[in-house]
Structure formats: C-alpha cells, structure tokens
C-alpha cells in the first residue's frame, strides 16, 4: 500500500521562535493584531508500507532520527492511504 504522511515540526512550547516574533511584529505594522505567531515546517512524505501502522512506525522513526531534533522540537504525523 502507498501512504502519504504529513509531518509537522514545531519548536517546543516555551522555546523562542524569533521568526514567529518577527512575523508578529510585521503583522502589527500592517495594523493586524495577533497574540502570538509560531512557525512550523511541514514535510510531505510518500511511502510504501504493509499497513497504516507500519507506515506510522516508519515515519515516526524518520522524525526521531532526522527530521526533528528531539531536544528542541515536537512533531506530529498524520497519514492517509493514497491510490
């Protein structure tokens, strides 16, 4: 089966997000109000796996070993089967 995983990588809560802060300031220059702006990165990964559980296991391992840095990041994975 083929699956498409969407992986979102975010800085842990409480960690400084200077890019988010800069975007927030720019929004304020434009007259918008935002209490907080946080950035995240999204990766879309297409992979083959026997079933959705092993697809999830694979992607979680990818996150732990490379895509996220567990010291500073949280990540979330959502998966769907594709044709």
């Amino acid at each position: 089966m083929q699956y498409q995983a969407e992986v979102i990588i975010e800085l842990k809560a409480g960690m400084l997000d200077p890019e988010g802060t800069t975007v927030k300031r720019a929004l304020e220059h434009l007259g918008y109000e935002a209490d907080s702006v946080r950035t995240a990165k999204k990766y879309t990964i297409v992979l083959k796996a026997a079933d959705i559980h092993s697809a999830r296991e694979n992607v979680e391992e990818m996150c732990q070993k490379l895509i996220a840095n567990p010291i500073i990041h949280n990540y979330s994975v959502s998966l769907r089967e594709i044709e």
Binding site: L16, P18, T22, N69, I71, I72
Partner: protein, 231 residues
C-alpha cells in the same frame, strides 16, 4: 602528527584552518572530503565552519548524518581531540557528540562581529595554554548560534566543568548585552564529558594572526597540538 580538516559541500572555513595549522603553526594538516571513511591515520580532527548542505533541514543536520561522522565518533571514542567550529559545532550537537542544540539567534540576524569570551576551564585539550578567567577577543559569524539545553543538561555541564567559553563584556562579565545570540548561560563553547570534543561558535582561526587584530584564537590550536604531542 597529522590533523584532518573535514570538508563537506558548503564548508567555507576549511582552508583558513589549514592555513593556521600549516603556515602559522607548522603542523601537518590535510583536507579530508566527507566521503572518506577511515580517519585512523589522523591524530586530531577539525570540523570547520560554513553552511554544509545549505543549512537544509537544520544547520549541521545533514552533515551530522554522513558516514564520515561515524569515523569522527570512532576517533573521539579513542580519545583523539576533535574541534567543531561554528557550523562544526552545529554538526557535533546534531550528531550527538555534544549536548544541546544550536537554534536561531534571539534577534534573527546573521551576526558577524568581534566578541569577548571568558575562559571557564583550562582542564581541556583545547584550553591548557590559557589562564582560567582570561578574556579573549574572537569573532563570531552565525545565524544559528543560540545554544539551548534543558535545565538538567545545563546543570550537568556546569557540574562536570564542560562549559569552556562564555560571551562576556570587555570587563569579563557575562551580561545579557554581551550575549550576541541568546545562548543559555552565555555559553559560547562546551566540551564532551571526556573533554576531548570541543564545540564553539566563535572562530579561533579568524583570530590567529596579528594582521587579523587578535591572536587569542591561536592558543586553542596550540593547546590541541601540545595535547597531541603529549599523548
């Protein structure tokens, strides 16, 4: 004695370090392309600054997972001295050879300027020629130099005397104003638990000749060379 300077695609301080080692210190040094698998013939390793792999994913993240880093780990496990400077420090934290992580500067700007550093420990292969508390002038040049580690890790670094350099003002005080990037506890450089692996954001190779305005960085390399000679 021979020292390896590891070259990744995007390294750009590699030749400066070769120049300091060979021409200033008269030590044998060799550029080693990242595809090299065996580093047994070297007595020490330098991972230079630059933008390996265009800082894709995170600064140092891709380089940290290249096969040569397994060889670097092997040499570090054997007790050989390893220095990672700037991007090299990022590679060492990403590869797990050093604790913590380097994140975006608190003011998100590439900062390239002289900084003052205080020598926190002389009990390492890289700082034996300094005095404890000595104030050095060594420049930085980075966008992701904000050292982060959680509280237990910071406490362990302090307890084991692993913090090597801190950003200070010219009087030696570790103030917020003297901290160029938001690093926790003003940390500019740390060593591994065994102390034979050093990571530092400032560039000692850019402060190794009179013409550059400071020779304070040279003692980092001289200490390393002396350590190798004594081994």
């Amino acid at each position: 004695m021979s020292i390896a300077v590891v070259q990744f695609g995007g390294s750009n301080c590699d030749l400066d370090i070769i120049h300091v080692l060979k021409d200033v210190l008269g030590v044998d040094a060799e550029l080693v392309w990242y595809k090299e698998e065996n580093l047994d013939r070297f007595d020490g390793i330098v991972i230079p600054g630059g933008f390996s792999y265009g800082d894709y994913l995170r600064a140092g993240a891709i380089a940290a997972r290249t096969p040569i880093m397994n060889s670097v780990k092997k040499q570090a496990d054997a007790g050989k001295p390893v220095i990672g400077i700037c991007n090299g420090f990022q590679v060492l934290t990403e590869s797990g050879l050093l604790a913590g992580a380097l994140t975006t500067n608190n003011y998100p700007k590439f900062r390239c300027e002289p900084t003052y550093l205080r020598v926190e420990t002389t009990d390492t292969p890289f700082t034996s020629m300094f005095r404890k508390g000595e104030i050095l002038s060594i420049p930085i040049a980075h966008m992701e130099g904000n050292y982060y580690a959680d509280e237990p890790t910071l406490a362990a670094l302090e307890k084991n005397d692993q913090v090597v350099f801190r950003y200070v003002d010219k009087n030696g005080n570790a103030t917020d104003e003297a901290n160029p990037n938001g690093s926790r506890e003003n940390i500019a450089g740390i060593v591994s638990q065994r102390k034979n692996v050093l990571g530092m954001m400032p560039h000692p190779e850019r402060a190794s000749e009179e013409v550059l305005g400071s020779t304070d960085g040279l003692k980092v390399f001289r200490s390393m060379v002396e350590y190798i000679s004594d081994r």
